[in-house]
């Protein structure tokens, strides 16, 4: 992809951004990408901000295992969530890269 990018960048002044912006494939790709990004972002922010809210309620103040209370378990779950979503992102981003490359290829073929 970067090779293609460089090729296009080399004759950069000639990029017709309007044309790419109007391409069906480009808009589908951006829509899919944004839905994924913001969907996940809202999800993890929700789980995150529930911690300081629930932490002061009896729900998370009970003991879970031994003296370990649920706030620690919840916090640990947020750590694990971070690692899982990080891995998920890296995986999804590789697909997005392919989609972006395909869009640029289509643009190249159509002739700038």
């Amino acid at each position: 992809m970067s090779q293609l990018e460089n090729k296009i960048s080399a004759k950069c002044d000639g990029i017709n951004y309007d044309k790419i912006d109007r391409m069906e494939t480009f808009n589908q790709f951006v829509k899919k990408k944004n839905t994924f990004l913001f969907g996940i972002t809202i999800t993890f922010l929700t789980f995150y901000i529930l911690l300081p809210i629930l932490a002061f309620t009896p729900v998370l103040q009970q003991k879970a295992v031994g003296s370990i209370t649920w706030v620690w378990v919840y916090s640990l779950a947020l750590f694990i969530m971070t690692i899982i979503l990080c891995t998920l992102y890296v995986k999804m981003a590789a697909n997005f890269d392919k989609a972006a490359a395909a869009v640029l290829q289509e643009y190249e073929k159509a002739g700038a």
Binding site: I15, L51, L60, V65, V71, W72, F79
Partner: protein
């Protein structure tokens, strides 16, 4: 001080100076100076970002806070870790695709106006200075503790060293100092945590049971420091969103060649910070149990020396010296990154682009960058000399609050909102900045009825960190500013630029060409 500690310090200082010397030979252009030529690898930048994250406030402050207040201290750890996701999901890649040296470069890729650059640069300078004073005051206190030298001399030593790294080695040296320091810190923390855990027979439940039996259950739930939900929600919002608005973190995305490497960087950072902050539990509880509340408090009321004291208990003078040397490296690395970021706002944005219209030769740019570094260093050193008695932890949380309120909304709108315009951008940034400063000035860190703040009196706004008010305010101002002035904007041109931004942000096309 003795031979062992002197050895560790000289070793670390020597190593970083060698790195600076090598880097200085490779620093000839403005791009080398500000962004290491954009040539860092993913893991390198990942370690360097982790280096920025794991400031003395994080390492010394968080473990101290857990030792003294139990779970309340761990709130910070959670915030720092989850903040990676915000960076990864919505900031890192578009930032890399649109920007060049600074946050202002990225914003002016869409709105090429001097006032936008001016406001963004001002915000950057304010955040950098607040953050730097906090680090320098902490450094002064730590070095004073270790060597018994005067505070002013300690600040001067750190000040001179950080300026040396930046001046001669630019971003290459600064990045490598960060990488070395992050590696050392991770090693030191793992060692300490391992030793603590071994004393509890590697049994997590036993460790928590010990805390519960000996010190009381209140350490295992929140409430010792944060008593209200709204206060802690506000602080947590500042942490998770502020990271993505901190200029020295954002600047790190310009040191890699493309969005893919930017993403790899954050992936590395996520793992490093997740491991590091998990270990803060062991450091905090270890210090609580083995060093003890009274001894921690006697050394430093805020608990900032809890981790070094724990090291002394676990490994005697050698481990103490090592941990102190690592803490010293941490401070040096973080302040160097801050100097560089402040310098970029002064010399690239304000001098180069606003005053000189970007008409500087490569040589002049590098010279301006060096002069900018010296100026920002001198200003921070002088302020730090006067700030000795200031409570520094609130300065750090304030920097996060400003980052979240003045920078994050405008970044998001710039990338993702079609109808955003330059008036909205100025409105969002100014509102975020001013509301933080005003609400902060009316808040409990400045006013306290018992006299443990700067003035005696009832705080008008009872929020330590006003993020819960200022972030929505800034988003709203950006929205309102754009909508209300929509008729004044050349719509066709604005739409054309937005299309360009959209294509660039999502495809990474012509990264080298963007911005001005």
């Amino acid at each position: 001080m003795n031979l062992v500690s002197a050895g560790f310090f000289i070793g670390i200082v020597g190593l970083t100076l060698i790195v600076t010397y090598i880097a200085s030979k490779r620093t000839s252009s403005a791009s080398d100076f500000y962004t290491a030529g954009g040539g860092l690898k993913g893991w390198q930048n990942g370690f360097a970002i982790a280096g920025d994250y794991l400031s003395a406030a994080a390492f010394l402050g968080v473990s101290g806070a857990i030792a003294l207040t139990g779970f309340d201290g761990f709130f910070f750890s959670v915030g720092y870790v989850v903040a990676n996701l915000v960076l990864l999901y919505i900031i890192a890649e578009p930032m890399r695709n649109l920007g060049r040296y600074t946050l202002a470069d990225m914003l002016t890729a869409r709105f090429n106006e001097k006032r936008i650059r001016g406001v963004a640069a001002t915000g950057t300078i304010i955040i950098v200075i607040l953050y730097m004073i906090a680090q320098l005051v902490g450094a002064g206190a730590l070095i004073k503790l270790l060597f018994g030298i005067e505070y002013w001399m300690a600040v001067l030593i750190v000040g001179v060293m950080m300026t040396t790294y930046v001046l001669f080695g630019g971003m290459t040296a600064t990045s490598w100092v960060q990488i070395i320091k992050a590696g050392l810190l991770l090693f030191g923390t793992t060692l300490l945590a391992f030793l603590v855990f071994s004393k509890f027979d590697f049994n997590l439940v036993k460790m928590f049971d010990t805390v519960s039996t000996n010190y009381g259950d209140e350490y295992l739930v929140p409430g010792m420091k944060y008593t209200s939900t709204i206060d802690s929600v506000s602080m947590m919002l500042a942490l998770v969103l502020g990271t993505s608005g901190l200029p020295h973190i954002l600047m790190r995305f310009f040191t890699v060649k493309d969005a893919k490497t930017a993403r790899a960087s954050i992936s590395w950072t996520t793992w490093i910070t997740a491991i590091f902050f998990s270990l803060t539990i062991f450091l905090g509880f270890g210090a609580m149990h083995f060093v003890g509340f009274d001894k921690i408090i006697a050394e430093n009321a805020a608990g900032n020396t809890a981790a070094p004291l724990l090291a002394e208990f676990l490994g005697g003078n050698i481990l103490l010296s090592f941990i102190c040397a690592v803490a010293f490296a941490t401070i040096l690395a973080v302040v160097s990154g801050l100097v560089l970021t402040g310098a970029s706002a002064i010399s690239h944005d304000i001098y180069g682009e606003i005053l000189k219209d970007g008409k500087l030769t490569e040589k002049q740019q590098v010279l301006a960058a060096r002069i900018g570094s010296i100026s920002i260093a001198i200003v921070s050193i002088i302020l730090a000399l006067f700030a000795q008695s200031l409570n520094v932890s609130f300065l750090v949380s304030f920097a996060f609050c400003i980052g979240a309120s003045a920078n994050l909304p405008v970044i998001l709108y710039t990338i993702y909102w079609k109808k955003f315009n330059s008036n909205g951008a100025v409105a969002a940034m100014v509102t975020g900045l001013v509301s933080c400063l005003v609400l902060g000035a009316l808040g409990p860190n400045i006013w306290s009825p018992t006299g443990n703040a700067i003035f005696v009196g009832e705080p008008i706004v009872n929020l330590a960190v006003p993020a819960i008010i200022t972030i929505p305010l800034s988003f709203f101002a950006g929205y309102l500013g754009s909508i209300l002035t929509a008729h004044k904007v050349e719509q066709a041109e604005a739409e054309r630029v937005y299309k360009e931004i959209r294509v660039k942000a999502h495809t990474g096309i012509s990264v080298q060409d963007v911005s001005h």
